[in-house]
């Protein structure tokens, strides 16, 4: 791993220029304007780096023409870096092996991007040869972040405004998601045999990795290290939970999870090994990204990297309510436990159907925003009101003790033309500022700020952090500070008063 104590060198410059120059090898420098600390990457040095010989332009004239034609077709189809559509994506995620072999690209086709991946490999290897490690590159609006995990390199290039720490975390979670599908066994194979083609093992997983990326865009689970509970009446949740605990016991399972879309309706786990929120995130993406689960009861191996990155658990997966995407998961260590789990699941379904708890979960899951708190339904003193009638635009409340968070619906922001994917990076920046994670690699971690306030043309953002709660809220930029503070206090009181319905008991 990279050494966190010394700040990583920054190779700075215009992103496009960096890519095209490094790719065509026509120029010797990739230096952008206006940067303090730049490393000059020389093209001749790039060529001397092992593993970079895949670039198109190094071939002889005959094959080169062919390759250029292939590249042109790929560009037209949006599969490689010459395509305009590809370049305009807000975020790219890449995975490649130590030897520069492409493993995954979020956009486009990783095969068509082999040349670009070879360039990334060359950049990383170049820094490694100097006894250093490449951490991040700022290039215009883009931040490019690098992460090394075993025999894999993970690279993010984002123009989303998310801070380096958050992109770094997303790469870490992308790696975890791959482990969730494969365990870390393939890394040993890959370390022994650099020519091993990891893509063979990752057939049909694009949906899962895309579901993870979607969660990065619209939900703060990743950087909050928390999960989103489904809002539902406490009494009905209680009967869901009891039925789930019974199913876990009868099925001999380790964990039971009832998902409703991207929310968690109930959770049954041993007190000794609680599910890590990031394992829950991986599990959610695994389920949402695998539409085949909706067709029938399924038994699938799945690895929870925080639980054990080297072993599979065996998951019984079944959609108890398809329209509301209510999905029951029972996780067992036994590879032959399907029938037992299926029997336990059948009794679970009968019980929650009879009590009406399943229908309540489904109703909540089917609501706009899957039962998120609507600002118009809040008491007026806590900032409630229709869009335009209240200065409160949006809020995010984390219950650190339970590792859960509550999110407001997006309608007030939508009325101002802001989408969740514009706002979540904003929260990510506030969170990084409060926890002072953005000053990269500084140790020891300073204690978080208690109160944070920041105002732009678009929002006034406020954050409170304590051991009992964290509140992040966005207000109209013209709102008075005093009004903001009062609303925040009432809002916290309201959440505390409603926590039986809002949070999943642990």
């Amino acid at each position: 791993m990279v050494s966190p104590t010394k700040p990583g060198p920054r190779v700075s410059g215009d992103f496009e220029a960096l890519l095209s120059q490094a790719h065509s090898r026509s120029s010797s420098e990739v230096v952008g304007p206006g940067d303090e600390q730049c490393s000059v990457v020389d093209a001749s040095e790039l060529e001397s780096v092992p593993g970079s010989e895949g670039a198109a332009t190094e071939q002889g004239p005959g094959p080169a023409v062919q390759l250029l034609e292939q590249a042109a077709t790929a560009a037209e189809e949006g599969r490689n870096e010459d395509s305009e559509v590809w370049r305009q994506q807000r975020k790219h995620l890449f995975v490649l092996t130590h030897s520069g072999k492409p493993v995954y690209s979020l956009h486009g086709d990783e095969n068509a991007l082999a040349g670009l991946m070879a360039v990334m490999d060359a950049l990383i290897s170049f820094m490694k040869d100097q006894g250093d490690s490449l951490q991040s590159v700022r290039a215009g609006r883009h931040i490019i972040v690098f992460l090394e995990r075993g025999p894999l390199y993970l690279v993010a290039a984002a123009a989303t405004g998310e801070p380096v720490s958050v992109l770094h975390l997303q790469l870490h979670l992308l790696h975890s998601q791959i482990l969730c599908i494969l365990t870390d066994g393939f890394q040993k194979v890959l370390t022994r045999n650099a020519r091993f083609d990891t893509r063979r093992l990752l057939g049909g997983v694009d949906g899962i990795l895309e579901a993870l990326h979607t969660s990065f865009e619209v939900d703060p689970s990743a950087f909050l290290v928390a999960f989103a509970p489904l809002r539902m009446p406490a009494l009905l949740r209680r009967s869901l939970l009891l039925a789930l605990q019974t199913a876990v016991r009868e099925g001999g399972a380790l964990y039971g999870v009832l998902l409703a879309g991207s929310k968690v309706a109930a959770l049954s786990q041993g007190a000794s090994r609680p599910l890590h929120p990031h394992d829950l995130l991986a599990l959610g993406a695994f389920v949402r990204g695998s539409p085949s689960f909706q067709a029938a009861e399924t038994f699938s191996p799945v690895c929870l990297p925080h639980f054990n990155p080297s072993a599979f658990l065996h998951a019984y997966v079944h959609y108890a309510h398809k329209d509301a995407k209510v999905c029951l998961l029972l996780l067992s260590t036994q590879p032959d436990s399907f029938m037992r789990l299926a029997d336990a699941a059948r009794r679970f379904r009968a019980e929650v159907n009879d009590s009406g708890a399943l229908q309540a979960a489904a109703r909540s899951g089917l609501q706009a925003g899957e039962g998120q708190v609507s600002i118009s339904s809040l008491p007026a003193l806590a900032g409630g009101g229709e869009p335009g009638m209240t200065p409160l635009l949006h809020f995010l409340y984390k219950h650190p003790g339970r590792s859960q968070f509550v999110l407001a619906t997006w309608d007030a922001l939508a009325a101002r033309g802001r989408l969740p994917q514009d706002v979540v990076p904003h929260y990510a920046r506030i969170h990084a500022a409060v926890f002072r994670k953005d000053e990269e690699f500084r140790e020891p971690q300073p204690s978080p700020l208690r109160v944070y306030y920041h105002s732009t043309d678009e929002y006034a953002a406020i954050a409170y952090a304590s051991a009992e709660y964290e509140l992040y809220a966005l207000f109209d930029p013209l709102a008075q500070k005093l009004a903001i503070v009062q609303i925040c206090q009432r809002l916290c009181a309201w959440v505390k008063g409603s926590q039986q319905d809002l949070f999943v008991p642990m």
Partner: protein
Amino acid sequence: MGCAGSKGPPARPADVKGVRPPAPEPQPTIPRVKLVLLGDSGVGKSCLVLRYVRRQFDPQSQVTVGAAFMSHSVHLPDGSTVKFEIWDTAGQERYASLAPLYYRGAAAAAIVYDITNPDSFQKAKHWVGELKKNAGDNIVIVLVGNKSDLVENRVISIEDGEELASQHSMLFAETSAKTAAGVSTVFELIAQKFASPAASGPAEARPPAASSSPAESV
């Protein structure tokens, strides 16, 4: 998801509480046949099962993750009934090492290939070898050439399929999950092997969680 719109809980039509364990039911001994589908990814295993069990076909069918379970009762012309417990396994390479979990103890296996894809035929041969080696002598195997509607793209002839099947004394059928041609034949071919009392031996082969259902050993 094209499969949406199907009504009710998918598997096990008799999804009422605890029907399974108590033995004293009207029809005391319906033979249960554990059937496993094997084959390369994308040959249409899930489509075959969904076509047969639910009479649906989804051209955008999604890649299977893990193994999907469905059960279905077949009523044969002679009045007998067989209950299939079908394991539709994922064709992806990363699941290959888990296949024994599903074929071990299976009474029947369908090895599926795509008549337009020679690689999938090679893969079928691989599965034949693996089953012959590891799955026990009594297992009934049917070789299935799917996508028979794609006549122009056919690469594997009927004769190729038949030859492979006869070499290893397997049943053989060509199907099209899209048009339904030949699909029920496959399942009825297998069912007939288990419906007659003479063939009750292999039917004792148990599902993976044998421990949970000892009552059913007929």
